[in-house]
C-alpha cells in the first residue's frame, strides 16, 4: 500500500514580500476505508484523553471560576452545521487564517501554521466531540455514590488512590460510551470532509455518490461503503448497548449521596488556568466565529471587512433560503408529532411491561443513536426509490425528499425523546396509575388523567430539544435534500442550503447567520428543558 501525500509540510517561502516558514499539517492517504478508520481513531484518542481530563477536574474539584469553566466546557454541544467547521478551517488557514495572521503579521514571527486535509478534519472533530466524552464521563462520575468515597477515605486511602481505584474504575462505562460515540460520530461525519474538501473518506464517498442520484447511489461501491459503515457502527453499538439504554438514565437511586468536590490545590488551579481554560476557549472558537461570520459583510481576509445585519434579512429576501427554513420547520414539526406520539407509546409500554418485549423496545429505540445519519439517509433512499415505494409520495427523486427526510428525522431523534419520556414516567409512582384503575378508570383514562399530566413537563422538555435538533440535522438533509434540485419551491432543508451556500461569495455569511440562529435555538432549548427537568422532583412516593 502506498501512502499518498505528506503528514507535515514545512516550507520556506516568500509570502507578502517576506521570508517565512510555513508549517502545514495534512496527513497521508491509504485509500478511503483506511483513511476513515485512521481519522476516526485519532480523533477518538485525542478527544477521549481531553474529555477525561476535563471530566476528572470539573466535577471533582472546587476552584475559583469553576462555573465559568463548566459552562464553557459544554459550548461545543451547540453546533452550527457547516458554519462551525468553516470557522475552524478559516482560523487555521495558513494564508488567510487569524492564527497565522496574529503570529506572523501582528507579532512578527516568521512562521505561518495551517491545518489541511485529514489534519483539518481531525482538528475540527476534536474541537466539537470532546464534549461527548466529557459529558458521559462526568455523568458517570456524578453517579458515584459519595459514601463509597467516604468509606475509602475513612479507611485511610488517599484521594489519589481513590481516583485510581474507585473513580476511574466506576467511570469506565462513561468512558466507553463516550469514546464509542465519538468514534461513530467522527467516522460518519460528513460536514468536515466537505468543508476541508477531503474526499478520500468513506462518508464523503457516500455523499458524492448521491450527487448523481440516478446511478451513483446504487453503485456497488456506494452500497458497500454504506453497509460497511453500518456494520462498524452496529459493532460499536453492541459493545456499548448497556450504556446507551434509555433506562439507564432513568434509574432513581434511593439514599444517594452526591459527590462533595474537593478544594483544588494552588498547583492544580495553575494547571487548570494554564491548560484547560485555554483549551476550552480554543474549542469555543467555532461558536464565537459563527457569530462573527453572521454579522460580517465579507470575511475572506483574516479579519472581517465590515459588519452588517443584512445576512439575517436574507432569511426572508432570499427565496431559496426562505423556502429552506419553511421546509425545515414543516419537516421538523411533522417529525416531532410522530416522535412525541411514538416515544410516549414506547416509553410507557417498556415502563409497564416487563421482560423481553421491553428489552426489545429499548433496543429498537436506541439503535438509531449508533446508526450513522448517512446510513439512514442512503437506506431510506434505496428503500423509497424501489418498488413498492417508487413513484409514491415516499419517493425522494420522483416525488419529493420531504417524506424521507421527515421519517429520517423521526428515527434519528426518537431515542433521545424516548429517554426523556421514560425518565418522566419513572418519576410518576406506578401507584398513582393503579389508584385510578382501582377506582374503575380504564387504562387509557388512568394514563391520561393520572400519569400524562405529571410528565407533561418531561414531554415538553424533550420536544423542545428534539425540535431544535431536527432543524440542525445534517447528514440526511445534505444527502437527500437536493435530490429534486434546488430552484424556487425546492424541498431541501436549511442544512442542505448551508452546505450549498458555503464558500459562495455572499452565501458564506448567510450560512453564518443561519448557524448563529441554530446555536441560539439550541441554547434556549437546552437551558429551558434542563431547567424544567431539574426542577421536577420525584412525584408520588413520599
Amino acid at each position: 500500500m502506498n501512502p499518498i501525500g505528506s503528514l507535515l509540510e514545512v516550507k520556506n517561502v516568500v509570502f507578502g514580500g517576506r521570508n517565512i516558514t510555513i508549517v502545514v499539517l495534512k496527513g497521508v492517504s491509504f485509500g478511503s476505508i483506511i483513511n476513515s478508520f485512521v481519522v476516526a481513531t485519532i480523533s477518538t484518542l485525542i478527544t477521549t484523553a481531553i474529555g477525561i481530563a476535563i471530566a476528572l477536574i470539573l466535577p471533582l474539584y472546587d476552584f475559583p471560576g469553576k462555573s465559568i469553566l463548566r459552562n464553557l466546557a459544554i459550548v461545543p454541544l451547540f453546533a452550527a452545521p457547516f458554519a462551525s467547521g468553516y470557522v475552524v478551517k478559516k482560523f487555521f488557514d495558513w494564508r488567510y487564517g487569524l492564527l497565522s495572521y496574529v503570529i506572523n503579521d501582528v507579532i512578527g514571527i516568521p512562521l505561518r501554521i495551517g491545518f489541511e486535509s485529514f489534519a483539518g478534519v481531525i482538528l475540527s472533530e476534536v474541537l466539537s466531540l470532546y464534549v461527548i466524552v466529557y459529558l458521559n464521563v462526568s455523568a458517570a462520575i456524578n453517579s458515584i455514590d459519595y459514601t463509597l468515597i467516604e468509606q475509602a477515605l475513612n479507611l485511610g486511602s488517599s484521594f489519589r488512590k481513590i481516583l485510581r481505584d474507585i473513580i476511574i474504575h466506576l467511570s469506565m462505562p462513561g468512558i466507553a460510551a463516550g469514546a464509542s460515540l465519538t468514534f461513530i460520530l467522527s467516522i460518519e461525519d460528513i460536514a468536515n470532509p466537505i468543508i476541508f474538501k477531503e474526499d478520500r473518506l468513506i462518508a464523503y464517498e457516500i455523499f458524492r455518490s448521491f450527487q448523481d442520484p440516478t446511478t451513483g447511489s446504487r453503485s456497488p461501491g456506494a452500497i458497500f461503503m454504506t453497509i460497511l459503515i453500518i456494520l462498524i457502527s452496529l459493532g460499536v453499538f453492541i459493545g456499548i448497548r448497556r450504556y446507551v439504554s434509555y433506562k439507564r438514565y432513568a434509574a432513581i437511586t434511593r439514599g444517594f449521596k452526591p459527590l462533595k468536590p474537593l478544594k483544588l490545590s494552588r498547583k492544580g488551579i495553575a494547571l487548570v488556568y494554564l491548560f484547560i481554560l485555554p483549551f476550552l476557549l480554543f474549542a469555543s472558537i467555532p461558536q464565537i466565529g459563527v457569530f462573527i461570520l453572521a454579522f460580517s459583510t465579507r470575511w475572506y481576509e483574516p479579519l472581517p471587512e465590515g459588519f452588517t445585519l443584512k445576512n439575517f434579512a436574507a432569511f426572508v429576501d432570499d427565496k431559496i433560503v426562505f423556502t429552506a427554513i419553511r421546509n425545515s420547520i414543516v419537516y421538523s414539526l411533522t417529525a416531532l408529532a410522530i416522535i412525541a406520539f411514538m416515544s410516549i407509546l414506547i416509553a410507557y409500554s417498556s415502563a409497564r411491561i416487563k421482560g423481553s418485549l421491553s428489552y426489545f423496545l429499548d433496543t429498537l429505540a436506541t439503535i438509531p443513536i449508533a446508526v450513522p445519519g448517512i446510513a439512514i439517509a442512503s437506506g431510506f433512499f434505496l428503500l423509497f426509490t424501489s418498488p413498492p415505494f417508487r413513484g409514491t409520495l415516499f419517493d425522494p427523486v420522483l416525488f419529493s425528499p420531504g417524506t424521507a427526510i421527515t421519517i429520517a428525522y423521526t428515527v434519528r431523534r426518537l431515542p433521545f425523546m424516548v429517554r426523556a419520556v421514560y425518565a418522566g414516567i419513572q418519576q410518576v409512582a406506578v401507584e398513582l396509575e393503579e389508584a385510578a384503575l382501582n377506582l374503575g378508570a380504564s387504562r387509557f383514562k388512568a394514563f391520561t388523567s393520572a400519569v400524562l399530566p405529571l410528565m407533561a413537563l418531561h414531554i415538553l422538555g424533550g420536544t423542545l430539544v428534539a425540535f431544535v435538533y431536527c432543524l440542525s440535522e445534517t447528514s440526511v438533509g445534505v444527502i437527500l435534500g437536493g435530490l429534486k434540485g434546488v430552484s424556487v419551491g425546492h424541498a431541501a432543508p436549511i442544512t442542505f442550503i448551508m452546505q450549498d451556500y458555503l464558500e459562495t461569495l455572499y452565501g458564506t455569511q448567510i450560512v453564518g447567520a443561519l448557524g448563529a440562529i441554530l446555536i441560539i435555538l439550541q441554547v434556549i432549548a437546552t437551558v429551558t428543558s434542563s431547567a424544567i427537568l431539574r426542577g421536577y422532583v420525584v412525584i408520588g412516593v413520599r
Partner: protein
Amino acid sequence: MGFVDILNVTKKFGNVVALDNVTLSIDRGEIFAVLGPSGCGKTTLLRIIAGLELPDSGKIIINGVDVTYEKPQKRRAVMVFQNWALWPHMTVFENIAYGLKIRGVSRNEIVKKVRWVLELVKLEGLEDRYPHQLSGGQQQRVALARALVVEPELLLLDEPLSNLDARLRIEMRDELRSLIKKLGITAIYVTHDQEEAMVVADRIAVMNRGRVMQVGTPSEIFFKPKDLFVATFIGRANVIRGVAEKIENEIVYAKVNDKLIVGLKSSEDLSIGDSIAIVVRPQFIKLGCRGDEDNIFIGRVLSSKAIGLLTEVKIDTPIGILTVAVTGLYQKDISSAVDICFDKENVYIFRYEEVSF
C-alpha cells in the same frame, strides 16, 4: 364460605415466593388484619385481591363470584395504597371525586357525596388544597376518603398509617376502626405493626414468608400462638432452648440446663427427646414468688431500665438471661438475688426446627 375467599393462592416473582398457597376466608362486615414482617407478601396479597396482580395459581372469590381474572376496574374492592398515591396535580376535591366521575355520577351528586365523606373524615374546608399543602395525617384521610366515597363493598388498606408519626398512628387507628365499623364495610387491613392489628381488627392472619401461620382473634393470637414465629412476632418474648423430657396431655416438662420448666404443649407434633423452644412473655414473669408456684428459679438482677409505665429488668437465671416487664418502677440493686416464677399456662413450648427463622 365467607364474603371474601382466598383459595390456595400462590404467587412467585422469579424465584421469590411472595405468596405460598394462601387460603383465607373473610366474613362480611369484618375487619380482617393481615400481619407480618416486611417482605412477607402482604402487599402482594392485597394487589391480587384488587386485581393489580394475577396469581400464579389459586382463586379469589368475592361475594360468591370468582374474580381471579377479572380486570381491576370491575372489582368493587377499593384500595388505600401504602404511600396513599394521591394525585399531586389534583385538589382534594378532585382526588376524592375521581372515582365518582368514572362511575358517571352527576355533578350535584358528586358535590353532595364529597361533602359527606369530607365530614366523615373531618376534612371540611380543605377541598381546594393540593396534597402537598396538607399534613401527613390529612393526606392519609384524603386517601381514605377517596376510597370510602365510592361506597366499596370491600376496602383494602395497605399499611394506611405507616407514613404517620407514632402518636398520630395511635390516634388514627381507633378512629379508623370506628369509621369502618360505622359504615359496616368489610375491610382487609395490612400492617406489620402487631399492636395496630390487635386494636383495629376483629381477626388477624399472621403471615411469614408468603405463608399464613395462624388466623384468629387478637386474643387467640396472643394467648394461643400456634408456632414459634407467631409467639415471638406478637408481643415480646423470652425464648429458651431445651429438650422435651416428659409429655402429659397438653403439658410438657422441659429440661433446660438440668432445670425443669413446665408449660403448654403448643406444637402438635411434639415428642419426648425433641429439641424445643420455650416462650415466656416478659409481662408474665413474676418477681418474688411463693414456694408453691410453677417454674421458680433464683436469679440475679443484671440491669433495669424504665420504659414509660414499665420497667424492663434483665435477670440472670439458671435457664438463661430473661427479660421481665415490671409495672411501675423497680428498684433493686444490680446483682442482688431475686426469685422469679411463671405460670405454666403462660409458657408455650414449640418443637424447635433450625429453619424456623
